[in-house]
């Protein structure tokens, strides 16, 4: 039984999902890597932005 923090869970999903998205959505290794990094950034970045939005809404 493991209990990662919310942010750790987000990072895990972002890493693995970005890997699959990069491989399946692009043709060449270089473009796969770039798209994977792009997806990872969007996953983590959007979560952080939305978290701050919810923080200010809750105040």
């Amino acid at each position: 039984m493991i209990r990662p923090s919310h942010f750790t869970a987000l990072l895990l999903v972002a890493i693995f999902a970005s890997t699959v998205f990069g491989i399946t959505m692009r043709d060449t290794p270089r473009r796969m890597l770039r798209y994977g990094l792009y997806c990872f950034t969007l996953f983590v970045g959007s979560a952080i932005v939305l978290s701050w939005v919810m923080y200010f809404i809750a105040r």
Partner: protein, 137 residues
């Protein structure tokens, strides 16, 4: 020139032999297997590691494996779980993921398992596209 053209034609002929849906089915049953069949070893390994890791982490977080569909949400969860192929059936046979979700992390784990299944479907379809030539490389 002629030799290169012959090689290309031979390679195309080799990739068009056999059951065209085999990479799709193999990729669904075992994550990465569709790409292994097409000799995409690196991609297959990365896909297998990513999908299996998500599935195992989901179970380790006490995630739930859906066994029946009482309502529409459970039906969608079951569909996502079934995307894991043999991993789902092995997990069910071993009695894993049978406990009801009682805390937040377990709910995350349930989503991890569903997400792994959906990613596995994407990977299997990618293998099929490589097999049919819809995706070039």
């Amino acid at each position: 020139m002629g030799t290169a053209a012959n090689k290309a034609a031979g390679a195309a002929k080799n990739t068009n032999q056999g059951f065209v849906y085999l990479p799709l089915i193999a990729g669904w049953l075992v994550p990465g297997a569709g790409h292994f069949l097409l000799r995409k070893w690196g991609r297959g390994t990365l896909l297998a590691v990513s999908i299996i890791a998500l599935y195992v982490l989901g179970l380790a977080m006490d995630g739930k494996l859906y066994s029946s569909a009482q309502d529409i949400l459970a039906l969608l969860g079951l569909a996502g779980d079934l995307g894991n192929g043999l991993l789902y059936f092995v997990g069910r046979m071993m009695g894993l993921g049978g406990d009801p979700v009682q805390f937040t992390v377990a709910d995350y784990g349930t989503k991890f398992i569903e997400f792994a299944g959906l990613l596995n479907v994407i990977a299997a379809i990618d293998a099929h596209n490589l097999r049919t030539g819809r995706k070039q490389s």
